[in-house]
Structures are given as C-alpha cells and as structure tokens.
C-alpha cells in the first residue's frame, strides 16, 4: 500500500491587489501518493504555480491544511519550513537560477553542504553530487560556470541540485518552459528516470506533451481543480504519442 506524501485539504489562497480581493486558490483538495508523477495543468492565471508554491511552503496559505509526510506544514514557522524545503523537498524552476559565482558542481552540492540533516561527510556530498551529474549525463560540465552551459544542461544541473538531499518530493514549476524541444525531452526523460527510482514529482506545465509523461494530471481553472486524468505510469514500451492524444482528447472533452 502506497504512502501519502502530500495531502491538501480545503486550501485557499487570497491576494489583495489594489484593494480588490483575488481568490487564487479556492478550497483545493487532493492527495499525492509516494512514487507518483503528477502534472498540474491549467490556463494562465488559473493558480497552478501558486498551488505549487503554497503546498511547498514557499508561500503562505490563507486557509486550509497541507500535510507533508504526516507533518502539517500549514502550522510551521518560516524556519521550520525552510528546513523542510532544504531536507525533504526538491525544487526545479522555469528560470534556472543558480549562484553566479559558483561553478555547476558547487551549485549542486550547496544545499547538501547547508543541510545538517544530511549526515554524509563533505567529500561524500561532493561525490554524491558528481554521481547525480553522471547519472544525468552532465559530469563534463561540473567545473563550468553557469554561463558556459546550455539551458538544457543547466536545467539538468537544477534537477541534480533538487535531488542532492534525497528529497521525498520534487516540485517543478514549468521545468521545460525555457527549453527547446530536444532539451525539454531530455529533461523530462531525466525526471521520469528519477520518478522510476522512487522520487515523487509534482510539476506544473502548459505542455500536454510534458504532462503526457506523468501518471496523473490535475486540471485547475480559477483556483479550483476541475478534473483529474489518470494515465498511469509511463512504461518503457508506452506510446507517448498515444498518451498525449488521450490527454488532449480528455482536455477537449472537458472543455478545457
């Protein structure tokens, strides 16, 4: 029986802009099980990224509960949340932000070095970072500066960084949004590989081709999850085109 990694109950998020209340998330409920790879889709401004940032503790929720691995993060303070993000979560962003003055390997191992929960020695952390880079095929750029590599390589480095502390859940916000198709496919292949190895992934995307590689798709409109589409795990012999066609059909059927 699979374990629940994330449980979201009646999650609400409201912004006040120019004295006008903007309800970005309205009573969102869902569960993420261990080993899942979930895509959140929806039109621009529907609250996809806000949902991701709120459930990961990066943004404060207005109401509701978020349980991450049995811990209610909605009641945690900023310091506890930072610890959870550092030690138990991983993040991949559309903008591949890294520290400019650090080389790729150092950027990858930075969260490990900062983590007190990660009990590996400094050398072991470096070794683990290198292994991740090898696995994702970017070991050649370990000593490079971030400006010396392509967007696809940089995003794969970001994936390595997100995995350095062996997180229980990786959040990815439009991880392929800034990449060309080839790089996008490469990055998704890596995420799929990580997911197969047991890491749960929750990503936000506009792209049906990307979402088709996930096991479950949640579609969000005006801050509400309007529908869910289960594709099941992507197998080695899965026909990605047929999965994508199926997903597109469902989206049309639902009027999305």
């Amino acid at each position: 029986m699979s374990k629940t990694v994330l449980e979201v109950k009646d999650l609400c998020k409201t912004y006040v802009v120019n004295k006008r209340q903007n309800n970005v998330l309205r009573n969102v409920n869902f569960i993420v099980e261990e080993g899942e790879m979930i895509a959140i889709m929806g039109p621009s401004g529907s609250g996809k990224s806000t949902l991701l940032y709120t459930v990961s503790g990066m943004d404060k929720m207005t109401a509701g509960e978020v349980e991450f691995c049995g811990k209610d993060i909605s009641k945690m303070g900023a310091k506890e949340l930072a610890d959870v993000r550092l030690n138990e979560m991983g993040f991949i962003f559309q903008q591949m932000y890294m520290l400019k003055n650090l080389n790729i390997l150092d950027n990858i191992i930075l969260p490990a070095r900062q983590s007190k929960a990660n009990k590996l020695s400094k050398a072991e952390k470096t070794e683990y970072g290198k292994n991740l880079m090898k696995k994702l095929g970017i070991i050649d750029i370990a000593e490079n500066d971030i400006n010396e590599v392509s967007g696809g390589q940089l995003q794969r480095a970001c994936i390595c960084r997100s995995m350095i502390n062996k997180p229980k859940l990786i959040f990815a916000d439009e991880p392929t949004g800034a990449l060309n198709r080839t790089s996008s496919d490469e990055v998704m292949a890596e995420l799929d590989k990580i997911n197969r190895e047991g890491t749960t992934i929750m990503l936000v995307t506009h792209d049906a081709r990307v979402a088709a590689k996930c096991s479950r798709i949640m579609y969000i409109v005006d801050g509400n999850i309007k529908g869910e589409y289960k594709l099941g795990r992507l197998e080695k012999n899965s026909d990605i085109r047929s999965r994508e066609r199926g997903l597109n059909g469902w989206l049309i059927e639902q009027g999305f």
């Binding site: 990224s49 806000t50 940032y53 990066m58 943004d59 900023a78 310091k79 930072a82 610890d83 959870v84 993000r85 550092l86 030690n87 979560m89 993040f91 962003f93 559309q94 903008q95 932000y97 890294m98 520290l99 400019k100 003055n101 650090l102 080389n103 390997l105 150092d106 191992i109 930075l110 969260p111 070095r113 900062q114 983590s115 400094k122 470096t126 970072g129 500066d145 971030i146 400006n147 010396e148 960084r161 997100s162 916000d173 439009e174």
Partner: protein, 788 residues
C-alpha cells in the same frame, strides 16, 4: 511617450533611483561644505591677522629691564613705517583664581586694558569687542579651560598684592596670544580696573610692552632688535601664525577629511551611475527592439540624471551649511573665520556636482550602444557579456556554505567591492592617524622635546619666581630643590630633584642674529637629555647645542662659534651639536650645566622634576604622586603625561577632533555600506529568492550579506594598519617637523588605535548592513519566477 517612460522609470526603479539621488545629495553636501571650509581655512589666519591689525613684526618685552627698548631701537630705522606700543601688565606672579582655589593658568599672565589696545579683539562669530565694562573681563579659550570656567563665572586676578574680581564676559579672540601653542594667557579688562592694579607698590616689576612694527623689511628689523636684551619674544606675524599650529592641525585634519569626502562622494556617484546603467540592459534592449535610437535612450537617462541632480543639489546645498559648521566648530572658537564668498563658492560647487553627474551620466551611457535587443531576450547572458565568475570551489573548501559564498563573492568580484574597500581604508586611516597624533601629543615621552629630562614627577608652582631673579637665585633654587629632595626622600621615596631654567637670549652668528629660548639644567648634566640629533652634548661651559631650525636660521654648523648676549654682555660659544625642541616652534639652545648665567634675566623655571632613584613600578609612582601632593601642597604635581598636556594643551584642543573624525567616518561608512548593500539586494533578488526556495533561512542570507562587507572591512583595517606608518610620517610627521621635532617617534595607543576604534567603526558599519540586509525577509521564495 518620452516623459511617460521617464515617469515610469522613476516610479518603478525607486530603489536605484533613490540611491543615485542620495549620493547626489551627499556629494553636494560634502563638496560644498568642504570647498568653503578649505577656502576659509587657507585664508583664515591671514584674514584674521589683517582684521586684528597685527603689525608685520611683534615684540614683547619687560619694562623693568635696563637698556634700550625695542621702540627706541626701531625708531630711527627708515624701513620701519610705524610703531605702536601697548602697555600691559606682564609677570609670572600674576595669578588668576576661581572659587577661592588657586589655579595656575600658566607661568606668565598678561593683563591688558581695553582702552590701551593696539590690536582689535573679537568675540563669538566675528564680532569686534567695542567695550569692556568695569568688573568684566574677556579670556581666551585655553584659560577658560584651564580654570574650568564658563562665561558668566567670576574669577579673581591678583597682581602685586592687589586682588580684583571679574565676571567672565566671553571668549576672547586675540590674534597675537590666541594660538594654542602660545602659553601666555591674556585677560582684557576695563581701564579703571587696570588703573587699580597700577597702584601696587612694586607694579613697575610687572609692566611690559607689546610693540607692533609695520615694515616691509622684517629681516633687518629682526637683526636690529637682536641687541634688545629686554625682549621676551620677538618675531614676525608669520611666525606668530605658527602658534596656531594645533588649530591649523585641526583645520588640516578637517581639510583632509573634506578632500576624502569629496573623493568618496564622486567615486560612489560614478560607481552608482555605471552600475545602474549596466543593470538596465533589459530595458535598453527592449527600447532598441521597439525602434528607439541610441541617442533617444541616452537622452532619457540624461534627463533623469539632470532632474535628480538638480533637486539633489538644492537639498545638498542647504545641508552643507550645517555640515560645514560641524566640521569647523572647534577652529571657529579661536580663529576668526570669514564667511565671505562662502555662498557663492557653495553654489559653484553644487553646479560643479551637477555637471559632474551629467558628465558621469554621459560617459556611462556610452555603453547603451553596446546593448542589443538580444540582451533583453537572453537575460543578459549572451556570450559577449560572459565573464569568468567564481574563483574558489565549495567542493574543495572546508568553510560553511554561507561563509564560502561570502568569501568567494568578494574574491570573485573584487571590482564590485573595491569601492567600499577604498572608502573604508581611507576612513580607518583618518581615524588611526588622528588618534595617534593626539596620543603622541598627550604622551609623556614628548617631554624631551620641551627641553627637560625624563622624570617620573613634574612640579609647577605659584611660588614667586621673582625670588630667584637676583644674585642669590642659583643658591636659593638649589636650596629649594634640596628641600624637595629631602622631604620626598625622608618619606620613603629616594629621589633626585632637577629643574630646567629658561632664558631668552639674543644669539648671533656673524651678522645673522636671532632670539631664542635657552635652557640651563640645574642638578642635571647635558648628556642626560635625549634630544640630540647630531654632534654631541655640550661638554664644557663654552659649548652649546642648538635646535636644527635655529641652526638653519643662523646658517651655523657644528663647530662654529656663536655669541649669546644678555644685559651683562656677550659670551662666545662653540656649537657642539644640534637638538630637537618643540618650544616656540623650534627655538632652543642647550647650555652646559656649569655655565654661569645671571638668574636676574631668567624667564622662568620649566618644571621642577623628581626622578626616583629606586626604579619604582608605575603603580608605585602613581601612589607616590598622591603622597607628594600632600607633602608639597604649594606645588601642582603632575605625571609626565599631564606635564606634556599642561605645556601643549593638546588633549582638550584635539580631543574633540577625534570624536568628530570618528563620527564622520562612522556616518560615511554606514551610508556607503547601507547604500551598497541596498544595491546588492536589488541585483541579487533572484539569487536570494532561489536560496530561500531551496531552504536557506533568512538568517543565513543576512549572514552571507553581512559577512561580505565584514571581510571588506577587515581587509581595509589590515591594510590601514600596514600602511599606517608611512602615511603617518607623511602627514603627522610633517606637523611635528614644523614644531621643531625632526625625528618624531609616534606613541600610538595600540589598543585604542588598532583595536578599539576599528572595532567601533566595524560594529557601527555592520549594524547598518544588518539592518539593511534584514529586508531579505521581504523577498519571497515564490518570487523566483517573476524576477527579471
């Protein structure tokens, strides 16, 4: 549309625009106040002496001496256009008291009647004194400080047994006797009060004259007056101006501070403009993409800088007056500082800053040509903009990540931090040099430059020096020294007692004549003095050693024969060596202890000294000093440090300067660090959001930001300590050289100069940085995808 873009830019880029604006205001404030202060200080003494009507040459003489007066000698000289003589009461026995307690202001007190004045006196902010009421008196700053007296207090003046009370009316600005190195305290009173003193039985002994000579040939006059044996002082008004050395030292420190402030302000301005422009590649790229030409974009920025610099200049111009007063407050207390032309100079300075801002803007916006629409699209990370970044490797470092990032940032972006480093270094150096000069001037080690031997205890007395002005003077003085020795030794403090007699002699080398203070030790030998520069100590009574400045003045050399003249006649001496002395700006002759001089012509006793013979510890010396105070109540008992301060009066004068310099340096450091940190936060917003997103706490990010500036500050402190000594010799050494000390060895307080003050500056600067860096709390991790 042009102005719409400008309006939106001013609104949207509030932080960076605010930083530029603040630096413009700061630059104008510093430049205006510094330029007016520089101008005022450079001309102040000349203006002051001219306004006071001081002649070209001034002579001070005792009226009780036989022989021709200075006026008698100069009367027949064709090159002397005019002579004005002021009668004064001038003696070592005049005493100024307050609250029944006898406080010695100095050895010689000078009492002047306002009605007999030749020079003009001033009070407060350039106001000429036009009347002194009966019972009222004006005193100079140093006397007020020595007496711990305030304006409105009552003091008592006793001359030849006549005591009169006076209400202190104000702070006297007196050009001739106002310099802090001029030890003679003058008190200006009403003519009726003066006449009361003239009724004294022995008042003739107290009478003196100040003669003001108006001539173009001061050199010939100096030679002519060298024959006058009644003179206590004679020199040109230019030399008199040197007695304002401490005031000018303060002014010089303020001038250096001002120049540093101008440099700092302009460097920061240049940096800020270049930095903000280079950060706007995206906007510039987009403007180019939509077809706005280079000149149009450049014009947009130049209009923005013009608007900001004009508004900033107006605010800075107003603020400069307050700042200028803060810097010159102490100097204004003793020197008449003219404000003429300061507004015009300030306006010119403000306009100059506006022009410089425009020039910097014009130069910095040249880079606009290089930016392309691709920069906007590729977020500035095109190959052309690529530069090697990191220097260190986290994987090979044992540092904690936050410390590592901080060190790596500084080493990888030296250019980014160099500005802060230069400013911090200049600031710390200013504080160190200032503190070291002040400590040296307060140090007991300085006594050797005042012609006395190094002893543990120094005594000054209200005792009648006149008692020694006779044939039995030597016998009486030695008797007194023996009494002191016996009293102190009998109380368990074995010692020797010494005294230093001061004479004023006319000295001649062929045709070249001068007047100089001359020292004769009692119970000392010439080899006990530690102020010989060249040659050797006088070994017999027909040898002497001269201050090197006097030697230059007389064009004399070691081995030459020179003559000293007093009222008893002339005596020939051979120069055995040169000495350093800081008395009367480098006057000084050392006589052999066995040389028989007529005590009748002695000017005073410069400190009776007690030298313990059993080498007591410092704590024991302090304990003994307390005991000696009770044993010798008629003496003021001082340590070497206190004696130095008594002579030079520097501590009270320069003490405030130390505080002002430290305060200004702290303010500049905080301002620079805060504004730089703000610009860093603006630039690093994305990196901070990313670090927060991946789990770095606010505290770690604040620490990262603060550590970087701490490292720069630490480097600046280390460099300041290393280069402190040569910079010292260039600045402070030059000041002491003018005073007559050729090889001044500074006596810094290591703890104060190199630890306490740098720590205070570091703490204050970092306090500002931490407060600024705390704003990282407002940068949210979820901003990561919305940051440009």
């Amino acid at each position: 549309m042009f102005f719409e873009i400008l309006k939106r830019d001013l609104k949207r880029k509030k932080t960076m625009n605010f930083i530029i604006f603040i630096f413009v205001v700061m630059s104008v404030t510093f430049v205006c106040s510094s330029v007016t202060n520089l101008s005022a200080t450079l001309t102040s003494l000349d203006d002051y002496f001219e306004m006071a009507g001081v002649g070209d040459y001034v002579a001070i003489e005792r009226a009780d001496r036989d022989g021709k007066s200075a006026k008698d000698i100069a009367d027949g000289l064709d090159y002397v256009k005019d002579i004005k003589v002021e009668e004064v009461l001038y003696n070592t026995d005049a005493i100024i008291n307050k609250d029944g307690e006898s406080i010695v202001a100095s050895d010689i007190v000078l009492v002047s009647s306002f009605d007999r004045r030749i020079e003009k006196y001033f009070v407060g902010d350039n106001i000429e004194i036009t009347y002194v009421p009966q019972g009222g008196a004006y005193l100079r700053q140093s006397v007020l400080e020595a007496l711990k007296t305030d304006i409105g207090d009552t003091i008592t003046v006793t001359i030849d047994g006549t005591s009169k009370q006076f209400k202190v009316l104000g702070l006297l600005k007196d050009a001739v006797f106002g310099g802090s190195l001029m030890s003679t305290p003058r008190i200006v009173i009403n003519e009726a009060d003066y006449r009361d003193f003239l009724k004294g039985e022995n008042i003739e002994l107290y009478k003196g004259r100040i003669s003001f000579f108006y001539t173009d040939d001061t050199e010939s006059l100096s030679k002519a007056l060298a024959e006058c044996t009644s003179l206590s002082f004679m020199d040109t008004s230019e030399v008199l101006k040197l007695t304002y050395l401490l005031e000018m030292a303060v002014a010089a420190i303020m001038m250096v501070l001002s120049i540093c402030l101008i440099i700092i302000a302009l460097i920061i301005l240049k940096f800020t403009i270049s930095f903000t422009i280079s950060e706007e590649f995206r906007e510039i790229g987009i403007m180019k993409a939509i077809g706005i030409p280079n000149n149009g974009i450049r014009g947009l920025y130049l209009v923005k800088y013009f608007v900001m610099s004009v508004i900033g200049a107006v605010i800075g111009f107003i603020m400069s007056f307050l700042f200028s007063d803060l810097l010159m407050e102490k100097t204004r207390q003793t020197i008449l500082i003219s404000d003429k032309g300061s507004v015009v100079l300030s306006i010119i300075s403000a306009l100059a800053v506006v022009s410089i801002v425009m020039l910097f803007g014009f130069r910095s916006t040249k880079i606009i040509k290089k930016f392309s629409p691709i920069d906007a699209i590729r977020n500035g990370t095109t190959g052309e903009r690529y530069k090697k970044k990191g220097i260190l490797k986290l994987s090979g470092s044992g540092l904690r990540p936050v410390a590592f990032i901080a060190v790596n940032d500084v080493l990888s972006g030296i250019r980014r931090f160099i500005l802060m480093f230069i400013i911090f270094t200049i600031g710390i150096l200013m504080v160190m040099i200032n503190v070291n000069i002040i400590n040296t001037l307060k140090s007991g080690k300085l006594v050797k430059w005042f012609g006395v031997t190094e002893s543990e205890v120094y005594l000054t007395s209200t005792k009648n020096i006149k008692d020694y002005h006779n044939d039995r003077g030597e016998e009486l003085l030695k008797e007194e020294l023996e009494n002191i020795r016996k009293t102190v030794t009998d109380n368990g403090m074995p010692c020797e007692t010494r005294a230093e007699l001061v004479f004023k002699y006319s000295v001649k080398n062929g045709d070249i004549a001068a007047n100089s203070l001359t020292f004769l030790g009692v119970n000392t030998t010439t080899d006990q003095y530690d102020n010989y520069v060249e040659g050797s100590a006088p070994a017999n009574p027909n040898e002497l050693a001269l201050n090197y400045r006097l030697m230059e003045k007389l064009d004399a050399h070691i081995g030459d024969k020179i003559t000293l003249t007093d009222q008893d006649g002339s005596k020939e001496y051979i120069i055995s060596g040169t000495i350093e002395t800081m008395t009367n700006m480098g006057e000084g002759i050392r006589l052999h202890q066995d040389d028989k001089r007529n005590y009748s012509y002695m000017n005073g006793v410069l400190g009776t000294q007690i030298k313990f013979t059993d080498a007591p510890t410092k704590a024991e010396v302090n304990r003994r000093i307390e005991k000696i105070k009770t044993l010798l109540p008629e003496y003021t008992v001082m340590t070497a440090d206190e004696f130095t301060d008594y002579i030079i009066n520097s501590a009270s004068y320069l003490g405030n300067t130390k505080n002002i310099v430290v305060l200004v340096v702290i303010l500049i450091n905080i301002l620079v660090a805060v504004l730089m940190e703000k610009s860093f936060l603006t630039k690093e917003r994305g990196e901070i959001a990313m670090l927060k997103a991946i789990g770095f706490k606010d505290g770690s990010i604040v620490l990262w930001q603060t550590l970087r500036i701490s490292l720069v500050m630490l480097a600046a402190t280390v460099v300041s300590i290393i280069i402190n000594n040569p910079v010292h010799q260039l600045t402070g050494g030059a000041v002491f050289k003018i005073m007559g000390a050729k090889k001044m060895i500074f006596d810094p307080n290591i703890l104060e100069s190199y630890v306490i003050y740098p720590l205070i500056i570091l703490a204050a600067t970092l306090f500002g940085v931490v407060l600024t860096a705390l704003s990282v709390r407002h940068i949210s991790a979820n901003e990561i995808n919305s940051i440009e």
